[in-house]
Symmetry: C2
Subunit: 210 residues, 2 copies
């Protein structure tokens, strides 16, 4: 059995206690002997995935009781596995969701770190410099690359801090481990989405639905 969380850039896989990440291209080109239980927020891929016999879309089996309209199924899964805390999934987008005593209070969506880099390149060739993840956040930048890097990291960190306050923060996604290092109350938890997928599959098996 493979559990799979398919995003806009990558597919995150969990099999036999091991995690892996594949680009969508590579993931779609691969063939799997195991049964693949997946969720997918990338609308363009649904018709392709539905044709695969050993693929099971779990979305219809995962109930969301959030008042938030149009929330992605990946965020629903992440939130369901946290009773009280903040969930940050840092991929192509950085989704931030607040849970209080099992209730989803709402959330917001920042661009992912790599998307900020693309944005600066679109503004001007002078700003096509990438984001230096080791930039100092304690002194004001004195060159362009630091100026971009500082702005991206400071704005993302401050916005998460402002909403999380003293709550525990669960980071997931490709930039989750890196971002978690800026937060005393932050942990990197690769299982935050997969816990719900695993529980869902186990319940469906128990019911005999799959």
């Amino acid at each position: 059995m493979i559990l799979c969380d398919i995003g806009n850039t990558n597919a995150h896989l969990f099999k036999d206690g091991e995690f892996s990440i594949e680009s969508l291209e590579k993931f779609l080109a691969a063939s799997f002997d195991d049964k693949v239980y997946y969720i997918c927020v990338n609308d363009a891929l649904h018709p392709i995935l539905k044709k695969r016999k050993n693929f099971v879309d779990l979305e219809a089996f995962i109930k969301s009781d959030t008042p938030y309209k149009g929330i992605g199924i990946d965020r629903v899964c992440a939130c369901k596995s946290v009773y009280d805390g903040v969930v940050v999934d840092a991929g192509s987008a950085i989704t931030v969701d607040v849970m209080s005593r099992g209730k989803h209070e709402g959330g917001f969506i920042l661009p992912g770190l790599k998307m900020y880099e693309k944005t600066y390149a679109l503004i001007s060739p002078r700003l096509d410099l990438g984001v230096d993840r080791d930039v100092s956040l304690n002194t004001l930048p004195k060159n362009t690359k630091d100026a971009l890097s500082f702005a991206v990291l400071k704005s993302v960190i401050l916005t998460i801090k402002d909403c999380a306050k003293s709550k525990k923060i669960y980071f997931a996604g490709g930039d989750g481990e890196y971002l978690s290092s800026f937060f005393e109350n932050g942990v990197f938890d690769k299982m935050v989405v997969f816990k719900t997928l695993l529980n869902t599959v186990e319940e469906l098996k128990k019911e005999g639905s799959i």
Copy 2:
């Protein structure tokens, strides 16, 4: 005489006490009878502007004594007109610079509000919704459009607040007036760049250099 600050998307003009903004396309297509004294951060336009007989590039006459390497001439001009305070120029990019007793302490560069919109559209068609400038920043969003709008505004505002503290903040640029409304210590000052251009032209005329 026309003073002109040329950016990556628009040209800002000042003539006889009146301000106007033109798209680059329209600005380049127009012909001017008056002498045009300009600064320009858009490298692609320099060869075109240099060919125009009544255009004078002021950049070489404006001295910068900042330790910041590679700063844009528009930011140099804005900083020179503020002895103590923070300058925010909110156009295609949002540049933020800190001045303390006439000294440039450094600064950073966030994407402009419209560029954030383009970034979300690049991430996913689901996020191609624009930024609602009237979104509430006091409650956590419960739908996707609010989630993007909240994230953009909150992250920009918090990052400016964090660096400005109690300093006076001078806002300029297309989104300057809107952003200034979030700051008790903020003023919208269209003249922040043009003050330096005006002083430079007056000095050069006095010297007989132009």
